[in-house]
């Protein structure tokens, strides 16, 4: 199917089904129940799941296949966002040209930065990409203010030209981004008993693009090009003496993954038409590294899982506060309740970064293959007990 073998096709299909029914799957708890805060089925968060999924899928094409660890990938995401917002300002509120320009601009940026950075490898490459990204951040934050909006970020205004659209709506507001009349922020709600499910245009638009991006990444993984990239990671010397020039391969991988980042940036601006320099800060680059490692570097599904998990943690764990903890542990005797709450408290709310750091360290130490490897180990244990049980397809290895 679609030129994929059976295993990859079923993986793609499962992801497609999960993505399509995400509004149901992510809202398993009825409104108003104690567990409702664990629901993640609201548009803003779901959009972030798929957009950061795209970002991580692209990063994985570079890091997972070639082993080149870029610490500056957020720069391309930021560039994509700026390009998209400029299209909204100058052209029209249609997201299509905005996203296309975002991808192209990020691609050109990646070509320049990659061409220079890839002259070195190992930690030197990481530092070079980091230096470029920090430079972009510093420039966007200060000197390039006319283009980037500086500290406040780039925002839409009522007097933007929008030559193929209208500067203002009939009500005198700034128009919202849409796809040929479909407004990204439009949502329909489905109420079933106590459950409320939200179906958002922006989410489904981004989800379809994410599926396309995922499909493309599977094709790249299975292609001769993907094989060459893995060969680069494995033994560059042998590749050289086999008559292959590693540099254009790594550069192509770098540009492709930069374009994925630009796509994610363009989509982000399409959901919420503003762009800020903080998207390019090096911690943002670190975040995509975390996502990819957490999910499983070099695997197909890993980056998507990692992106989802981190964004879920960021949104859900950071919302839990001491009161909520007290209601959870109310069944314990008072003294014990307080003790348990005090022990958990540093890890929730504002402390979610601490949880993230610890989880990340544990993954790097004990599970270098990330969640996918963990899933395989579990499936292995499970499989030994029940040999007839088919394995969960999402935990299948990529290779």
């Amino acid at each position: 199917m679609f030129g994929l073998d059976k295993k990859d096709a079923s993986l793609l299909l499962i992801v497609a089904v999960l993505v399509a029914f995400a509004p149901f799957l992510l809202n398993p708890f009825p409104e108003g129940s104690a567990m409702a805060q664990f629901n993640a089925g609201y548009p803003d968060l779901m959009q972030r799941f798929v957009i950061f999924g795209i970002f991580a899928i692209g990063f994985n094409i570079l890091f997972g296949l070639t082993g080149y660890l870029s610490f500056g990938h957020a720069a391309f995401l930021g560039v994509g966002s700026y390009a998209a917002v400029w299209m909204f300002k100058l052209l029209s509120m249609n997201v299509l040209p905005a996203i296309i320009l975002a991808v192209i601009t990020a691609g050109i940026f990646a070509l320049i930065i990659g061409y220079v950075s890839l002259r070195r490898s190992g930690i030197y490459f990481s530092i070079l990409t980091l230096a470029f990204a920090q430079m972009s951040f510093a420039l966007a934050y200060s000197v390039l203010t006319p283009i980037t909006g500086g500290e406040t970020g780039l925002q839409l205004a009522l007097d933007d030209p929008r030559i193929f659209g209208s500067s203002t709506t009939a009500e005198g507001n700034i128009p919202v981004p849409g796809f040929f009349g479909l407004e990204m922020r439009d949502s329909t709600e489905l109420v079933l008993g106590n459950w409320v499910f939200t179906f958002n245009v922006g989410y489904y638009f981004a989800a379809i693009i994410m599926l396309a991006a995922f499909y493309l990444s599977i094709r790249i993984f299975r292609s001769p090009f993907g094989m060459m990239l893995r060969a680069i990671k494995s033994n560059q010397q042998r590749l050289n003496y086999t008559g292959l020039n590693p540099r254009p391969y790594t550069l192509a991988a770098f540009v492709i993954s930069g374009m994925y980042a630009g796509l994610a940036g363009g989509l982000m601006a399409s959901m919420d038409p503003l762009a800020g320099a903080e998207r390019m800060f090096w911690t943002a680059s670190g975040e995509v590294v975390l996502m990819t490692i957490l999910g499983g570097v070099g695997t197909l599904i890993g980056p998507v899982l990692g992106a989802g998990l981190i964004k879920y943690m960021e949104n859900i764990i950071s919302k839990i506060n001491a009161d909520i903890l007290h209601t959870w542990f109310a069944f314990l005797p008072d003294g014990l309740e307080d003790l348990v709450v005090t022990m958990i408290y540093p890890f929730i709310g504002k402390g979610w970064h601490l949880t993230l750091g610890i989880v990340f360290m544990l993954v790097v130490i004990f599970l270098p293959g990330g969640l996918v490897q963990g899933g395989q180990k579990l499936a292995g244990l499970f499989g030994r007990k029940k040999a007839s049980q088919p394995k969960n397809a999402t935990t299948e290895p990529a290779e």
């Binding site: 220079v116 190992g122 030197y124 980091l130 510093a138 420039l139 970064h353 601490l354 993230l356 990340f360």
Partner: protein, 343 residues
């Protein structure tokens, strides 16, 4: 001329911090072969050692002063630091005033302990893993350390002043024969530079003149051979890590009066310190120190109004720009040796 001297002086304090952090990074990388992304966090913890000690010194208990009354006519309650009880008021005040320099003695054991725990507990297991894994796990550790500090000390910077005697500035220009009022330089920055110079000198002397240092230098040149000679490298690695942690920590302690410490200062310095290490040449100690000062001074020059007017924003990017140029033209950095970190 006076403007040039002023900019050089202004670059010295940041340059000192870069040099000290880069020195520790290089020691760890050169001996242990580990790329430590948590080194900035050690700098930050050092700074918070100073914060902690000043807080400890000002810990007070309430006493009722019968001789004075508040506006209601009741005896006045006053907070008396515990140090007063031990040393009396005058000495106690002096101790509180000198909290930052005193923190050096507090920070050295703390930092060595943290370094040793880090090395034994975590880094040790990553000697044989790829550099990418080392970067990732220490990056994770850096996040954890800074979040712990944030949890206990909050997100806001905590002002930690220098002793009264070093607050303020003096006319450095007048001292060296320039017109008065041209080169005004804060005392503490000069102290910081002198302090950094002493630490750097001490580290180099330690490596140069002790047997321990000789083994370490041999290990940096050729780890395997030294290992084969039957010298207990492991123990020395641990001590080296503790030492590097102490250097970073001391750099942090003394930096507190220049910039009020906050939980993310380590990360801010780390990125630049890595650039410094790479510019200096991975694995070269003199390179790290030289590049630290050079880049600090360069940054200071690029911040001059005259320069910014010509090339806007240059102060923000000059270090990165220089790093990129150096990496591309001199792949081994200013003083790097062949064969270090080359694929």
């Amino acid at each position: 001329m006076d403007a040039i001297i002023l900019q050089i002086l202004n670059g010295l304090d940041k340059g000192s911090a870069y040099a000290l952090i880069a020195l520790g990074l290089t020691l760890i990388f050169g001996t242990l072969g580990v790329v430590n992304f948590a080194h900035g966090a050690l700098f930050m913890i050092g700074a918070f050692c100073a914060v902690t000690l000043s807080k400890l010194l000002t810990l007070s208990h309430t006493v009722i002063d019968e001789t004075r009354t508040d506006f209601l006519g009741n005896p006045l309650k006053v907070e008396v630091p515990y140090v007063y009880d031990v040393f009396g008021q005058t000495t106690g005040d002096a101790i509180i005033d000198w909290a930052v320099p005193l923190s050096i003695f507090f920070a050295i054991p703390v930092m060595i302990l943290i370094g040793v725990i880090m090395e034994r507990g975590l880094i040790k297991h990553f000697y044989k893993r790829p550099h990418a894994d080392q970067i990732l796990v220490t990056f994770g550790l850096a996040i954890v350390l800074q979040e712990i500090i944030k949890y206990y000390y909050g997100a806001n910077p905590i002002p930690t002043p220098a002793p009264e005697a070093f607050v303020g500035s003096f006319d450095f220009g007048a001292l060296i024969g320039f017109e008065a009022g041209q080169i005004i330089y804060p005392y503490w920055r000069l102290v910081y530079f002198a302090f950094a110079a002493i630490i750097i000198g001490a580290v180099f002397a330690f490596l140069q003149f002790t047997t321990f240092g000789m083994v370490v230098r041999a290990g940096m040149a050729d780890r395997e051979t030294v290992g084969l000679l039957g010298i207990n490298i492991d123990k020395r690695f641990t001590i080296m890590f503790g030492l590097a942690a102490a250097v970073a920590g001391l750099a942090g302690v003394m930096y507190t009066p220049i910039n009020s410490p906050n939980y993310h200062m380590g990360m801010d310095f780390l990125v630049l310190s890595f650039v410094v290490v790479v510019v200096g040449g991975m694995g070269s100690l003199p390179g790290a120190v030289l590049a630290g000062f050079l880049l600090g001074i360069l940054e200071s020059f690029a911040s001059m109004r005259e320069v910014i007017d010509i090339i806007p924003g240059i102060n923000q990017v000059v270090i990165y720009l220089v790093a990129i140029i150096i990496l591309l033209t001199r792949p081994r950095g200013l003083m790097g040796r062949k064969g270090v970190m080359e694929d």
